[in-house]
Symmetry: C2
Subunit: 269 residues, 2 copies
Amino acid sequence: MPDYTTSIEVRRYNHSGLSVLQDVIIKERPITLFVNGKELAAIVCSPVHLKELAVGFLYSEGIFQERKDLRAVSVNEEEGIIRVEADGRIPSDEDLRKRYVTTCSGKGKTTFYLVDDMLKIKPAESGLVLTVDEILHLSEEIEKNTVVFRSTGGTHGVSLCTSKEVICTFEDIGRHNAVDKMVGYCLLKGISLDDKVIVFSGRISSEIIIKIARIKSPMIISRGAPTDMALGIAKQLGITVIGFARPDKFNVYSNDQRVALENKEGLKK
Amino acid sequence: MPDYTTSIEVRRYNHSGLSVLQDVIIKERPITLFVNGKELAAIVCSPVHLKELAVGFLYSEGIFQERKDLRAVSVNEEEGIIRVEADGRIPSDEDLRKRYVTTCSGKGKTTFYLVDDMLKIKPAESGLVLTVDEILHLSEEIEKNTVVFRSTGGTHGVSLCTSKEVICTFEDIGRHNAVDKMVGYCLLKGISLDDKVIVFSGRISSEIIIKIARIKSPMIISRGAPTDMALGIAKQLGITVIGFARPDKFNVYSNDQRVALENKEGLKK
């Protein structure tokens, strides 16, 4: 994994003394993203799948809304620069800073309201159903696929899956970047997500749910925990959230109509 | 921990079926930060220590440089709004987007250059030295102090420590927020950090190193991994980086003059 990691000398201490050894650590690189010639963002990331990262990031941020609006992407890895040409309205700096979610608290209950362009996201209506065994199988699979994590402990991973198997896996030092790479990959390849599952290594926050809602994936499985705000949004947007996925169990937090105890025909939960 | 968490009903599945139970999940709230009346940032966070978060965030981002520039901070928790009044030049949107680090790759070696206001940070010159036993003790301590993490699995924690003990601990759903809260706390209380150690639960990325360099802490201990870029910057700024801290061992990645095998007087490594 030379693109993800580099080898350095470390000094390891324990109660009995010091040893010097070579160890592998994760690379982190700054990338500057230009859209139609304007500097739009600085991202630090694992320097792999940079084209997918740029496309996924811009889509997740609402900079372009449809694949056809994307005209060209060029990556200069050496200089850490990605240039994107896109049609449509490029948002102002003020737009980019705008809060995208608001809360209403009172009498012990908190509701989350989506604002601005979030309201344009239609709730997931996918009829996808996975059995308990399929979900347990997929959560085991991501452990095998996140090879950089296993050798460095320094990345998050996200896998795009059918109900039966992993299609591809992206890793990055940043949780959000890993998901953006997967989003960019699906957009560039024209992959439809309404019958796919996303298996993620990290905590499920509101921003992660909004990213997967935009690409119309109906289900996310994570070994991590969801937040209450992520669940509030997932319920509004019809997304099934599964957390604390372990080899022998998992929790379903929203839209559990997509989870079946058995897969015999006609037998639902 | 009612400020950090909320209780919900979850559906737990395993091979033998389904059970419905009450579980605790972590709260996430959007906060909008205004500086001198101008909307500057939206942050999602754990809604605890919001004043410290705002102050630490603004200092980490270079919005104000000295404690005396901070005139007032008011927190409206209900509406998720923090208003800060500060002296000095408030940066433009363009400033805020500016990349702060650049790389120079070539012939297998990568060097990181600090740009802009990073160059004003003086390297840590602290004479602080910790023994191996002290470091092992502190990394054990953070496990006990991160109480929200232990009950939810959804937060990162950072502790401010002397060589002997933990002074205080901050937790947040965001790695960066946890560190910003600690930074804000130290600024508000006027705590000097050149004889303190920061013990962190998360991965050490470049941004974390830059945050702790600004407040002049000379040492960070983490159970996570550092990135190569974080280490490049830590070496330039004289910071001791300790990673993969476990109850019985740890790795030192930079400036190991602050680690002593024994604490007998006169006996150094």
